[in-house]
C-alpha cells in the first residue's frame, strides 16, 4: 500500500512572499493556552484541506514530533504538574478531534520527519486509515540557550548557502499533516542515516548526507536526474551547509532547482519536517518554487544557488533534514 500526504497546514513566523499560511500569534499570555489556540487554528486549516468525513478524525492516531515538547510551560510554571510529554501531545491531538493513540517522537531536528515515517509505516502496514502528524516547536528559553551554549547561533540572520552565513536562527512552528492511503503527494521513500562521529557535533559529515539521499533515491526507484526540486536542510550553518552542499554536488551531475526555508521561518527544530513540507506544498500548489530568504551571495565553496523558479512542472522532490547528533533524513515525494 502507498502512503500520501493528504493535507498540510502550518503556523509559523513566515514571510508572506514565501508561502502564505497561518501566522504565529505573539508570544504572550499562558504558554499552554497559546499552544492550544495555535493548534485549533492549524486544525481548522488542515481539516478544510483534508476533505475527510468528520467521523474519520476521532479514531486517528496522532504522532507529535518535537524536541522541546512543553518545556516552555515548565519554564513559565516550574511547579505546575504537567504530566509526561505524551499527555501534552494528547492535549494537542484533542484540538484536532483526534482521540486515537498518541505518541511523541524525539530525534531532535528530524523529529517531525521521523513521526511522518512512522505514520507511513502504520498506513503501509494497514494499522490505520489515516494518521495525524504534528511538528511542534514553540517559544522557550532553553532551546535558545542550548543552541547558544553549543555555539550554533547566528549573530544576525539565517543565510542559507550564503558566503556570509554565520549560524542558525531558531524559529517557532506548528506544522500538521494528514497521512493517508490517497492524496496528492505520495511518500515514495523515507531514508535515515546516523553519523557515528556526530554525537556532539553540530552537523553530520557529507558522506552521511550522501548516504541518506542515495538511500532515498534507491528506495524510491529514482535516479538523481529524476529529481525536479531539492529542499535543502541548509540553515546557514557554516559547516552544515557545506557538508550538505558537497554531498549534493557529488550526487547530482546537473543540479536540480533548490530551496531552503530556514532563512524565512528560522530553524524550527523538531517541527521543521511538517512545517517545511506544508510550506513547500503550499508554494508548489501556487506553481512556485519560492526564493530562499537570506541567500544573497554565492559561496564558491558551497556551490549551491537556491533561487525562485517555476514550480508548476515539479513532480519529484527530495527533502533533506539534519539534526544534532548526526541524524539525517531524506524523503522522496512524488506528485500524483
Amino acid at each position: 500500500m502507498a502512503s500520501f500526504v493528504r493535507a498540510a497546514a502550518v503556523a509559523s513566523a513566515l514571510a508572506p512572499e514565501i508561502a502564505p499560511d497561518l501566522a504565529m500569534p505573539p508570544v504572550e499570555g499562558d504558554w499552554t493556552k497559546r499552544a492550544e489556540a495555535i493548534a485549533r487554528a492549524v486544525s481548522a486549516a488542515l481539516k478544510s484541506r483534508a476533505g475527510l468525513d468528520e467521523r474519520e478524525w476521532p479514531a486517528m492516531p496522532c504522532l507529535v514530533g518535537s524536541s522541546s515538547h512543553f518545556i516552555g510551560a515548565r519554564e513559565a510554571e516550574p511547579e505546575a504538574e504537567l504530566g509526561p510529554p505524551v499527555e501534552f501531545a494528547a492535549r494537542l491531538a484533542r484540538c484536532f478531534g483526534a482521540s486515537g493513540p498518541v505518541m511523541t517522537v524525539n530525534t531532535a531536528c528530524t523529529s517531525g520527519l521521523t513521526a511522518l515515517a512512522l505514520a507511513r509505516d502504520m498506513i503501509d502496514a494497514g494499522l490505520c486509515r489515516h494518521a495525524l502528524v504534528l511538528g511542534v516547536e514553540l517559544a522557550n528559553r532553553l532551546s535558545s540557550i542550548g543552541f547558544g551554549a553549543l555555539g550554533l547561533l547566528s549573530a544576525s540572520t539565517a543565510k542559507p548557502c550564503d558566503r556570509d552565513r554565520d549560524g542558525l536562527v531558531l524559529g517557532e512552528a506548528f506544522g500538521a499533516l494528514v497521512v493517508s492511503g490517497s492524496g496528492t503527494w505520495r511518500i515514495a521513500s523515507a531514508a535515515t542515516e546516523i553519523d557515528p562521529s556526530g554525537f556532539a557535533a553540530p552537523a553530520p559529515n557529507e558522506s552521511v548526507f550522501a548516504r541518506a539521499m542515495s538511500a532515498a533515491l534507491a528506495a524510491a526507484g529514482w535516479k538523481a536526474a529524476d529529481v525536479d526540486l531539492l529542499k535543502l536542510q541548509a540553515g546557514g550553518s557554516p559547516s552544515g551547509d557545506l557538508a550538505e552542499a558537497r554531498a549534493v554536488r557529488g550526487l547530482f551531475a546537473s543540479l536540480p532547482r533548490m530551496v531552503s526555508f530556514k532563512g524565512a521561518i528560522g530553524h524550527t527544530l523538531g517541527a521543521s519536517g511538517p512545517a517545511e513540507l506544508a510550506l513547500l506544498f503550499s508554494a508548489l500548489a501556487r506553481g512556485r518554487v519560492p526564493p530562499t530568504a537570506g541567500f544573497r551571495h554565492a559561496d564558491p565553496e558551497v556551490g549551491l544557488e537556491p533561487a525562485a523558479a517555476d514550480g508548476s512542472s515539479v513532480r519529484r522532490v527530495l527533502f533533506n533534514l539534519a539534526g544534532f547528533g548526526g541524524h539525517v533524513a531524506s524523503l522522496a515525494l512524488a506528485r500524483e
Binding site: 510529554p85 501531545a89 517522537v105 494499522l127 532553553l142 540557550i145 542550548g146 554525537f199
Partner: protein, 215 residues
Amino acid sequence: MITLAAPTVMRIDAVALAPRVRERFGGELRRAGTFAQICLLGAQACLDAAPPRGALGMLWASGRGAVGAARAALAESAGGEPVMPFTIIGTLPHLAATLLAQRGAPLARAAFVHVRPGGWPWLLGLAQAWLAGCDRVLLGWVEEARESEGTHQSDWCVLQKEPGEWSCEPLREVRGALPATSADWLARVAAWSAAPREPLALRGDGEAWRFAAGR
C-alpha cells in the same frame, strides 16, 4: 509472525551507573548524559545476547525521558547562568542511537518515542512494520530513577523475521489477555521466557499480543 530474542531486563542502582558503564565499556562515556548511558547499557546487553545480523532498527520509548538533565538545564537557565553544553546534550534522548552506532551497531533507522502506559502494543506493531526494511529491530523501554538513590530501568528485546526461540503475534481478541503496561511488559515476557509453558497473552490499550515458545 515474527520472533523475539534476548529479552533483557536491567535494573541499575542510580549510584552504580558510572561503575556499571566503566565495567561494560572500559571507560566513561564522555559527554553522554545519564539517560543515554542507561539506554546504552541495556541495549548493548541485549545485543550481546543477540548480536545484530544485517540492518538493525532501534525503537525505544520512555514515559518521562531524560528528565534529570531537563531539570538540571531548566535550573541552570532559570538562575540566569549559561547552561553547560553537556547539560544540553544530556537532554537529548535520541543520542543513545548515535552511541550505539559508534560501537558498530549497523543502525538503519532509529526513533525515540514517548507513549502512554497502555501504548506498548503500538511499539510492537511498528517494530513489526520496520521488519519490512530491517533484519532486526531492537525494542526498548527506558526510565530514569525518580530519586538520586533510586533504580534506573533499561529493558530491551530483539524482534526479527528469522525463526527464533519465541514467536510473537498480535491477537484479534484482547479478551483473556493479561493487562500489562509499557513499563512492565518486557519484564513479564522475560520472566515468562525463562520457563515458558503456556503461551503468554498480554494486552495494552485495545490491543493484545501473544508470545509462544518456538517457531
